[in-house]
Symmetry: C2
Subunit: 281 residues, 2 copies
């Protein structure tokens, strides 16, 4: 009798779910779910309202983006394990996974110690970092010790001693542990006069993260705009992502109207997904 | 002396403008500026905040959209010529042109008289209308009298006596004046089980306006979602727009989260422009 009841309950549930599907079919899953790479979000996008994690996560939910690179203003370096667990639980309630931490600036060995330990406690295997040149030999030891990837963020022409483009990072890391590579910031690479698609082709073996961004010129005068309003070759980028089998995140770092970024973020994600869709074979 | 001063002032202005360009290069113009068709906005998108024209125009400005199909809640049918002039001036201050009026429902000859006269006073050459079948012979006279195009809006399976899809409109208008055609609503056509891209291929000679819209299913159960989250084949659409040399507007009629539509609108416009960009030869 109990079995029969259970069977009937299951059958009714199944029918109800079926009827609902019939009534309101779901939207399609994001187009990048069928790619090796995934669309993500760089936490820095939300720097203007650091204290309001719910606003950030609501934006991600409305844009159907499920991967976040965690900034310390959302999860401080001194967070307890309980606070870290609560943070992950909150992300999960919005369908979001924290996949990396950073960008984090570091210039001393004790800082590197602290941030690698933080990343380990957060439970990610990727740090986006901005180390001084002098610290690189120590980072080389740390990635071995923690078996973690370390993606150096490039900054364009604004901070020339802090890795202006992918060529510069490659020159610094090519003889180091293969777990040290780069976060290819498309806009900043372009602003340093270099095509980010060419950089991806050349250095993909060391590209561990990508900042999705557009810029108005291939010079320092260029500035960050909604994806598609600048000069980055996004169809070429997507085709290259597929060709080199990039399997990391392409995370929007939106740097325009930062106190009111919702529309710019949505337009950028929409544009990039339109390009993904239209370049499929 | 006066001439020299004027010359110097002009030279300084020119140099300042040049320096500014150097400093802050503009974003790229919208990708559809290089197409025969243009991206526009259907006024109905803003139906949830009818009284707030500024909010609507701000959204268009932020999305870089410059063509509006005018709804009567923004410009009532009994507007005076002065009110019409003020309306156009306001649109212009946001870089927007009103290119058509509608959709307008009409079932009596006096109504058709009134709305054609309204369109003439507004200064547009295109009415998006929903006439009863009985009124069609009279509309046939009116388009001749006013030398105006009349695009019948299709409504999908919800209102079967009011033109469910493009096939239905074609059957009703093919023997009428060539100035009577259709506003091809992509989502509603799909919801009636018909591919809107096929419809555009077949009937492009009578397609005078397009409502950019996506839907989750090719059935009545399907509903309107952000462009790219449903089943409409947008790469196929854009390629067909080019192939048939469509030179009208493709106007977003956004029908989701209508009281809070900014993000959905921006995502939809972004997606469509991403597809336009990525399908260019």
């Amino acid at each position: 009798m109990k079995k029969l009841l259970l069977f009937c309950a299951a059958a009714l549930l199944f029918t109800a779910a079926g009827a609902q599907d019939q009534k309101r079919p779901d939207p399609q899953p994001p187009i990048d779910e069928k790619e090796l790479f995934r669309v993500g979000m760089a936490g820095f996008t939300f720097a203007s309202f650091k204290g309001d994690l719910d606003r950030a996560l609501n934006i991600m939910k409305r844009c159907d983006v499920h991967y976040l690179c965690i900034k310390d203003f959302h999860l401080p370096y001194n967070s307890t394990d309980e606070q870290i667990a609560a943070f992950h639980a909150k992300l999960k309630s919005y369908g979001v996974t924290g996949y990396a931490v950073g960008p984090i600036y570091m210039s001393k060995e004790e800082e590197a110690d602290r941030y690698f330990e933080y990343a380990k406690r957060v439970g990610v295997k990727l740090i986006v970092g901005v180390p001084t040149h002098e610290l690189l030999p120590y980072i080389d030891k740390k990635v071995k010790e923690y078996d973690m990837k370390y993606a150096i963020h490039l900054h364009g022409p604004d901070l020339p001693d802090r890795y202006p483009d992918a060529d510069d990072i490659w020159a610094h890391v090519k003889d180091l542990d293969p777990r040290i590579g780069m976060c290819l910031d498309l806009g900043h690479n372009l602003r340093n006069g270099k095509d980010p698609v060419v950089a991806l082709k050349k250095y993909h073996s060391r590209v561990f993260d990508i900042h999705l961004k557009d810029a108005t010129a291939a010079t320092k005068a260029g500035y960050s705009v909604e994806v598609g309003r600048g000069l980055v070759d996004f169809p070429g980028l997507v085709k290259t992502l597929r060709k080199v089998k990039y399997d990391g995140k392409v995370s929007l770092e939106h740097e325009r109207d930062m106190s009111n970024p919702e529309m710019g973020i949505a337009e950028s994600i929409g544009y990039f997904r339109g390009v993904i869709r239209a370049t499929k074979k």
